[in-house]
Protein backbone atom coordinates (compact mmCIF):
# COMPACT_ATOMS: atom_id res chain seq x y z
CA UNK A 1 0.00 0.00 0.00
CA UNK A 2 2.88 2.35 0.91
CA UNK A 3 4.54 1.61 -2.41
CA UNK A 4 1.29 2.40 -4.20
CA UNK A 5 1.07 5.74 -2.39
CA UNK A 6 4.63 6.57 -3.44
CA UNK A 7 3.84 5.73 -7.08
CA UNK A 8 0.68 7.83 -6.93
CA UNK A 9 2.58 10.77 -5.45
CA UNK A 10 5.36 10.50 -8.06
CA UNK A 11 2.75 10.27 -10.80
CA UNK A 12 0.99 13.39 -9.54
CA UNK A 13 4.27 15.30 -9.36
CA UNK A 14 5.10 14.31 -12.94
CA UNK A 15 1.65 15.43 -14.05
CA UNK A 16 2.09 18.78 -12.31
CA UNK A 17 5.48 19.25 -13.96
CA UNK A 18 3.98 18.45 -17.35
CA UNK A 19 1.05 20.70 -16.58
CA UNK A 20 3.10 23.73 -15.73
CA UNK A 21 5.38 23.03 -18.68
CA UNK A 22 8.83 24.41 -19.25
CA UNK A 23 7.66 27.83 -20.42
CA UNK A 24 7.96 30.17 -17.48
CA UNK A 25 5.12 32.63 -17.16
CA UNK A 26 7.34 34.90 -15.08
CA UNK A 27 8.09 38.02 -17.07
CA UNK A 28 11.72 38.92 -17.64
CA UNK A 29 12.38 42.34 -16.20
CA UNK A 30 14.99 44.85 -15.11
CA UNK A 31 14.74 47.43 -12.35
CA UNK A 32 17.38 50.04 -11.65
CA UNK A 33 18.43 49.29 -8.09
CA UNK A 34 19.65 52.80 -7.36
CA UNK A 35 16.24 54.41 -8.02
CA UNK A 36 13.71 55.14 -5.30
CA UNK A 37 10.36 54.33 -6.93
CA UNK A 38 8.53 55.96 -4.03
CA UNK A 39 9.01 59.38 -5.61
CA UNK A 40 6.98 58.34 -8.66
CA UNK A 41 3.44 59.46 -7.90
CA UNK A 42 2.11 60.22 -11.37
CA UNK A 43 2.95 58.67 -14.72
CA UNK A 44 1.93 59.12 -18.34
CA UNK A 45 1.31 56.05 -20.49
CA UNK A 46 2.35 56.87 -24.06
CA UNK A 47 0.74 55.21 -27.09
CA UNK A 48 2.26 51.74 -27.49
CA UNK A 49 3.96 50.60 -30.65
CA UNK A 50 1.85 47.99 -32.42
CA UNK A 51 4.05 45.24 -33.90
CA UNK A 52 1.14 42.92 -34.64
CA UNK A 53 -1.33 42.64 -37.47
CA UNK A 54 -4.23 43.34 -35.08
CA UNK A 55 -5.34 46.90 -35.77
CA UNK A 56 -6.36 47.82 -32.23
CA UNK A 57 -3.85 45.74 -30.24
CA UNK A 58 -1.85 48.72 -28.95
CA UNK A 59 -4.92 50.67 -27.83
CA UNK A 60 -6.44 47.60 -26.18
CA UNK A 61 -3.24 46.88 -24.23
CA UNK A 62 -2.81 50.55 -23.30
CA UNK A 63 -6.32 50.69 -21.85
CA UNK A 64 -5.75 47.61 -19.68
CA UNK A 65 -2.35 48.97 -18.64
CA UNK A 66 -3.82 52.30 -17.53
CA UNK A 67 -6.63 50.56 -15.69
CA UNK A 68 -4.28 48.12 -13.94
CA UNK A 69 -1.75 50.81 -12.98
CA UNK A 70 -4.56 52.76 -11.35
CA UNK A 71 -6.11 49.66 -9.74
CA UNK A 72 -2.72 48.63 -8.32
CA UNK A 73 -2.67 51.88 -6.33
CA UNK A 74 0.97 52.41 -7.28
CA UNK A 75 0.59 55.61 -9.29
CA UNK A 76 -1.81 58.15 -10.66
CA UNK A 77 -2.14 58.21 -14.45
CA UNK A 78 -2.54 61.20 -16.76
CA UNK A 79 -5.64 61.30 -19.01
CA UNK A 80 -4.59 59.67 -22.35
CA UNK A 81 -5.76 62.61 -24.47
CA UNK A 82 -3.52 64.97 -22.53
CA UNK A 83 -0.52 62.81 -23.49
CA UNK A 84 -1.38 63.01 -27.18
CA UNK A 85 -1.83 66.78 -26.93
CA UNK A 86 1.55 67.20 -25.22
CA UNK A 87 3.26 65.03 -27.84
CA UNK A 88 1.68 67.13 -30.60
CA UNK A 89 2.80 70.36 -28.94
CA UNK A 90 6.37 69.08 -28.63
CA UNK A 91 6.37 67.73 -32.17
CA UNK A 92 6.89 64.12 -31.05
CA UNK A 93 5.47 61.84 -33.69
CA UNK A 94 6.34 58.43 -32.33
CA UNK A 95 6.73 57.24 -28.75
CA UNK A 96 8.96 54.36 -29.84
CA UNK A 97 12.09 56.42 -30.39
CA UNK A 98 12.22 59.09 -27.69
CA UNK A 99 15.50 60.74 -26.84
CA UNK A 100 16.51 61.97 -23.38
CA UNK A 101 15.52 65.57 -24.10
CA UNK A 102 12.07 64.54 -25.33
CA UNK A 103 11.50 62.39 -22.22
CA UNK A 104 12.40 65.32 -19.99
CA UNK A 105 10.23 67.77 -21.98
CA UNK A 106 7.23 65.44 -21.90
CA UNK A 107 7.69 64.99 -18.16
CA UNK A 108 7.66 68.75 -17.62
CA UNK A 109 4.69 69.31 -19.94
CA UNK A 110 2.60 66.62 -18.27
CA UNK A 111 3.78 67.10 -14.70
CA UNK A 112 4.79 63.47 -14.27
CA UNK A 113 7.78 61.76 -12.70
CA UNK A 114 7.89 58.92 -15.22
CA UNK A 115 6.76 57.91 -18.69
CA UNK A 116 5.69 54.40 -19.63
CA UNK A 117 6.00 53.31 -23.23
CA UNK A 118 6.61 50.08 -25.10
CA UNK A 119 5.24 47.74 -27.71
CA UNK A 120 2.83 44.90 -28.32
CA UNK A 121 4.66 42.02 -30.02
CA UNK A 122 1.98 39.35 -30.06
CA UNK A 123 -1.77 39.74 -29.95
CA UNK A 124 -3.73 36.94 -31.52
CA UNK A 125 -4.54 33.26 -31.62
CA UNK A 126 -1.77 30.68 -31.89
CA UNK A 127 -2.04 27.02 -32.77
CA UNK A 128 -0.89 24.68 -29.99
CA UNK A 129 -1.22 21.07 -31.08
CA UNK A 130 -4.90 20.47 -31.57
CA UNK A 131 -6.16 23.72 -30.09
CA UNK A 132 -5.98 27.44 -30.77
CA UNK A 133 -5.24 29.72 -27.85
CA UNK A 134 -4.81 33.45 -27.33
CA UNK A 135 -1.24 34.68 -27.17
CA UNK A 136 -0.17 38.11 -25.92
CA UNK A 137 3.37 39.48 -25.56
CA UNK A 138 4.18 43.00 -24.47
CA UNK A 139 7.31 44.95 -23.64
CA UNK A 140 7.06 47.95 -21.35
CA UNK A 141 9.62 50.50 -20.24
CA UNK A 142 9.53 53.25 -17.65
CA UNK A 143 11.71 56.31 -18.08
CA UNK A 144 12.52 58.74 -15.30
CA UNK A 145 11.62 62.22 -16.57
CA UNK A 146 14.25 63.80 -14.34
CA UNK A 147 17.23 62.00 -15.85
CA UNK A 148 15.67 60.66 -19.03
CA UNK A 149 16.97 57.15 -18.33
CA UNK A 150 15.13 53.82 -18.36
CA UNK A 151 14.50 52.66 -14.81
CA UNK A 152 12.22 49.66 -15.41
CA UNK A 153 11.68 47.37 -18.33
CA UNK A 154 9.69 44.18 -18.61
CA UNK A 155 8.67 41.66 -21.24
CA UNK A 156 5.58 39.71 -20.33
CA UNK A 157 4.00 36.94 -22.34
CA UNK A 158 1.05 34.65 -21.90
CA UNK A 159 -0.73 31.86 -23.73
CA UNK A 160 -4.36 31.13 -22.94
CA UNK A 161 -4.36 27.36 -23.30
CA UNK A 162 -2.38 25.35 -20.80
CA UNK A 163 -1.69 21.64 -20.42
CA UNK A 164 -5.07 20.99 -18.83
CA UNK A 165 -6.88 22.69 -21.70
CA UNK A 166 -4.94 20.79 -24.34
CA UNK A 167 -5.31 17.36 -22.80
CA UNK A 168 -8.23 17.38 -20.40
CA UNK A 169 -10.61 19.88 -21.97
CA UNK A 170 -10.27 22.47 -19.23
CA UNK A 171 -11.44 25.97 -19.99
CA UNK A 172 -9.08 28.07 -22.13
CA UNK A 173 -8.76 31.76 -21.42
CA UNK A 174 -10.36 34.32 -23.69
CA UNK A 175 -8.12 36.89 -25.37
CA UNK A 176 -9.21 39.52 -22.84
CA UNK A 177 -8.34 37.26 -19.90
CA UNK A 178 -4.90 36.47 -21.31
CA UNK A 179 -4.30 40.17 -21.93
CA UNK A 180 -5.27 41.04 -18.37
CA UNK A 181 -2.97 38.33 -16.95
CA UNK A 182 -0.02 39.48 -19.06
CA UNK A 183 -0.43 43.11 -18.00
CA UNK A 184 -0.94 42.14 -14.35
CA UNK A 185 2.24 40.01 -14.44
CA UNK A 186 4.19 42.92 -15.85
CA UNK A 187 2.94 45.40 -13.25
CA UNK A 188 3.51 42.89 -10.46
CA UNK A 189 7.27 43.03 -11.14
CA UNK A 190 7.11 46.72 -10.25
CA UNK A 191 4.69 46.33 -7.35
CA UNK A 192 6.78 43.59 -5.74
CA UNK A 193 9.90 45.72 -5.86
Amino acid sequence: MDLLKKYALTGMLCLLLLGTGCRSSMPSFHIRQDVDFGFIKRVAVLPLNNLTSERFAAEAVRDVLISELLASGLVDVVVPGEVTAAMDRLGIRSASSLNTEQIKSLGTALGVQALIFGSVEQFGMVRMGNISAPNVTITLMMADTGSGSIIWSVTSTGVGGGFMARHFGARTETMSETLLRVVKDAIRTLANY
Binding site: S67, A71, V79, G81, G169
Partner: protein, 186 residues
Protein backbone atom coordinates in the same frame (compact mmCIF):
# COMPACT_ATOMS: atom_id res chain seq x y z
CA UNK B 1 -7.33 10.06 3.41
CA UNK B 2 -10.36 9.64 1.15
CA UNK B 3 -12.28 12.80 2.22
CA UNK B 4 -9.08 14.84 1.74
CA UNK B 5 -8.63 13.47 -1.76
CA UNK B 6 -12.27 14.13 -2.61
CA UNK B 7 -11.95 17.69 -1.31
CA UNK B 8 -8.88 18.22 -3.51
CA UNK B 9 -10.63 16.76 -6.55
CA UNK B 10 -13.68 18.95 -5.96
CA UNK B 11 -11.45 22.03 -5.68
CA UNK B 12 -9.70 21.18 -8.94
CA UNK B 13 -13.05 20.60 -10.64
CA UNK B 14 -14.32 23.99 -9.52
CA UNK B 15 -11.15 25.71 -10.74
CA UNK B 16 -11.53 24.02 -14.12
CA UNK B 17 -15.15 25.04 -14.35
CA UNK B 18 -14.92 28.70 -13.50
CA UNK B 19 -12.58 31.53 -14.27
CA UNK B 20 -11.91 34.16 -11.65
CA UNK B 21 -12.09 37.51 -13.41
CA UNK B 22 -14.11 40.41 -12.04
CA UNK B 23 -13.98 44.17 -12.48
CA UNK B 24 -10.54 45.65 -11.89
CA UNK B 25 -11.28 49.05 -10.46
CA UNK B 26 -9.64 52.16 -9.08
CA UNK B 27 -11.32 54.84 -7.01
CA UNK B 28 -9.44 58.05 -6.33
CA UNK B 29 -8.98 58.14 -2.55
CA UNK B 30 -9.72 61.84 -2.02
CA UNK B 31 -12.98 61.85 -4.00
CA UNK B 32 -16.36 60.47 -2.96
CA UNK B 33 -17.40 59.11 -6.35
CA UNK B 34 -20.72 57.80 -5.03
CA UNK B 35 -21.86 61.37 -4.32
CA UNK B 36 -21.85 62.16 -8.03
CA UNK B 37 -25.45 61.84 -9.18
CA UNK B 38 -25.30 63.35 -12.66
CA UNK B 39 -23.01 62.11 -15.40
CA UNK B 40 -22.46 62.66 -19.11
CA UNK B 41 -21.50 59.46 -20.91
CA UNK B 42 -19.29 60.25 -23.91
CA UNK B 43 -19.30 57.92 -26.94
CA UNK B 44 -17.08 54.90 -26.23
CA UNK B 45 -14.21 54.00 -28.50
CA UNK B 46 -14.61 50.72 -30.36
CA UNK B 47 -11.40 48.71 -30.46
CA UNK B 48 -13.04 45.77 -32.21
CA UNK B 49 -14.02 44.94 -35.75
CA UNK B 50 -17.60 45.83 -34.85
CA UNK B 51 -17.69 49.60 -35.45
CA UNK B 52 -20.90 49.93 -33.47
CA UNK B 53 -19.63 48.10 -30.39
CA UNK B 54 -18.93 51.39 -28.64
CA UNK B 55 -22.48 52.66 -29.18
CA UNK B 56 -24.03 49.35 -28.15
CA UNK B 57 -22.10 49.28 -24.88
CA UNK B 58 -22.74 52.99 -24.31
CA UNK B 59 -26.48 52.30 -24.41
CA UNK B 60 -26.09 49.58 -21.81
CA UNK B 61 -23.91 51.82 -19.63
CA UNK B 62 -26.54 54.57 -19.70
CA UNK B 63 -29.29 52.07 -18.82
CA UNK B 64 -27.30 50.65 -15.92
CA UNK B 65 -26.40 54.10 -14.60
CA UNK B 66 -30.05 55.14 -14.70
CA UNK B 67 -31.03 51.89 -12.99
CA UNK B 68 -28.49 52.70 -10.27
CA UNK B 69 -30.23 56.00 -9.63
CA UNK B 70 -27.68 58.19 -11.41
CA UNK B 71 -28.95 60.96 -13.66
CA UNK B 72 -27.51 60.76 -17.18
CA UNK B 73 -27.38 63.58 -19.72
CA UNK B 74 -29.19 62.78 -22.97
CA UNK B 75 -26.78 61.32 -25.54
CA UNK B 76 -28.02 63.78 -28.15
CA UNK B 77 -27.14 66.70 -25.90
CA UNK B 78 -23.64 65.25 -25.41
CA UNK B 79 -23.19 64.89 -29.17
CA UNK B 80 -24.31 68.50 -29.71
CA UNK B 81 -21.78 69.82 -27.18
CA UNK B 82 -18.98 67.68 -28.64
CA UNK B 83 -19.82 69.07 -32.07
CA UNK B 84 -19.95 72.65 -30.78
CA UNK B 85 -16.58 72.23 -29.07
CA UNK B 86 -15.17 70.59 -32.21
CA UNK B 87 -13.96 67.52 -30.32
CA UNK B 88 -12.77 65.26 -33.09
CA UNK B 89 -11.33 62.25 -31.34
CA UNK B 90 -12.58 61.04 -27.99
CA UNK B 91 -9.46 59.02 -27.25
CA UNK B 92 -7.41 62.22 -27.56
CA UNK B 93 -9.70 64.38 -25.46
CA UNK B 94 -7.78 66.88 -23.32
CA UNK B 95 -8.36 68.12 -19.78
CA UNK B 96 -9.36 71.53 -21.15
CA UNK B 97 -12.02 69.93 -23.35
CA UNK B 98 -13.29 67.84 -20.43
CA UNK B 99 -13.63 71.00 -18.35
CA UNK B 100 -15.56 72.72 -21.13
CA UNK B 101 -17.86 69.74 -21.56
CA UNK B 102 -18.51 69.74 -17.81
CA UNK B 103 -19.33 73.45 -17.89
CA UNK B 104 -21.63 73.21 -20.90
CA UNK B 105 -23.49 70.14 -19.66
CA UNK B 106 -23.39 71.18 -16.02
CA UNK B 107 -22.00 67.86 -14.78
CA UNK B 108 -19.30 67.14 -12.21
CA UNK B 109 -18.07 64.04 -14.05
CA UNK B 110 -17.94 62.57 -17.52
CA UNK B 111 -17.65 58.89 -18.31
CA UNK B 112 -15.54 57.73 -21.21
CA UNK B 113 -13.78 54.55 -22.24
CA UNK B 114 -13.46 51.84 -24.81
CA UNK B 115 -14.71 48.42 -25.84
CA UNK B 116 -11.75 46.07 -26.22
CA UNK B 117 -13.65 42.95 -27.26
CA UNK B 118 -17.17 42.51 -28.56
CA UNK B 119 -17.92 39.46 -30.61
CA UNK B 120 -18.07 35.72 -30.94
CA UNK B 121 -14.73 33.97 -30.53
CA UNK B 122 -13.94 30.47 -31.66
CA UNK B 123 -12.77 28.02 -29.01
CA UNK B 124 -11.61 24.42 -29.20
CA UNK B 125 -15.02 22.84 -29.35
CA UNK B 126 -17.41 25.76 -29.09
CA UNK B 127 -17.94 29.34 -30.08
CA UNK B 128 -18.51 31.78 -27.29
CA UNK B 129 -19.23 35.48 -26.76
CA UNK B 130 -16.47 37.70 -25.44
CA UNK B 131 -16.89 41.27 -24.23
CA UNK B 132 -14.43 43.53 -22.45
CA UNK B 133 -14.88 47.16 -21.50
CA UNK B 134 -12.80 49.91 -19.97
CA UNK B 135 -14.69 52.75 -18.31
CA UNK B 136 -13.28 55.86 -16.70
CA UNK B 137 -14.93 58.65 -14.76
CA UNK B 138 -13.23 62.03 -15.06
CA UNK B 139 -13.69 64.97 -12.73
CA UNK B 140 -14.70 67.92 -14.91
CA UNK B 141 -13.10 70.49 -12.60
CA UNK B 142 -9.61 68.95 -12.49
CA UNK B 143 -9.65 66.53 -15.42
CA UNK B 144 -8.35 63.79 -13.13
CA UNK B 145 -9.37 60.16 -13.49
CA UNK B 146 -11.46 59.57 -10.36
CA UNK B 147 -12.67 56.06 -11.17
CA UNK B 148 -11.47 53.48 -13.64
CA UNK B 149 -12.61 49.93 -14.20
CA UNK B 150 -11.77 47.24 -16.70
CA UNK B 151 -13.92 44.17 -16.94
CA UNK B 152 -14.41 41.19 -19.19
CA UNK B 153 -16.88 38.34 -19.50
CA UNK B 154 -17.51 35.44 -21.79
CA UNK B 155 -15.58 32.38 -22.69
CA UNK B 156 -16.83 28.85 -23.07
CA UNK B 157 -18.63 27.51 -20.02
CA UNK B 158 -18.03 24.00 -18.74
CA UNK B 159 -21.49 22.83 -19.81
CA UNK B 160 -21.17 24.29 -23.31
CA UNK B 161 -17.76 22.74 -23.89
CA UNK B 162 -18.58 19.29 -22.64
CA UNK B 163 -22.31 18.86 -23.00
CA UNK B 164 -23.15 21.27 -25.79
CA UNK B 165 -25.63 23.25 -23.75
CA UNK B 166 -26.59 26.70 -24.91
CA UNK B 167 -24.32 29.39 -23.46
CA UNK B 168 -24.95 33.07 -22.89
CA UNK B 169 -25.59 35.22 -25.95
CA UNK B 170 -23.42 38.18 -26.89
CA UNK B 171 -26.07 40.60 -25.63
CA UNK B 172 -26.36 38.78 -22.30
CA UNK B 173 -22.59 38.78 -21.92
CA UNK B 174 -22.39 42.50 -22.74
CA UNK B 175 -25.09 43.27 -20.21
CA UNK B 176 -23.32 41.17 -17.56
CA UNK B 177 -20.01 43.00 -18.10
CA UNK B 178 -21.63 46.44 -17.94
CA UNK B 179 -23.80 45.59 -14.93
CA UNK B 180 -20.85 44.19 -12.96
CA UNK B 181 -18.74 47.24 -13.78
CA UNK B 182 -21.38 49.84 -12.91
CA UNK B 183 -22.41 47.90 -9.80
CA UNK B 184 -18.79 48.08 -8.63
CA UNK B 185 -19.05 51.87 -8.76
CA UNK B 186 -22.53 52.52 -7.32
Amino acid sequence: MLPGFLFLALGAFLVLMWGCVGPQQYVRPDVDVRKIRKIAVLPLESLTTDKNAGEKIRGLVISELLASGVDVIEPGEVSRVLKDLKVRSLKDITVEEIQKIGERLNVKAVMMGSVGAFGISRGITASYPEVSVHLMLLDTSTGNIIWSAWNTAGGPSFWTRHFGTEGATLSETARKVVKETIDALF
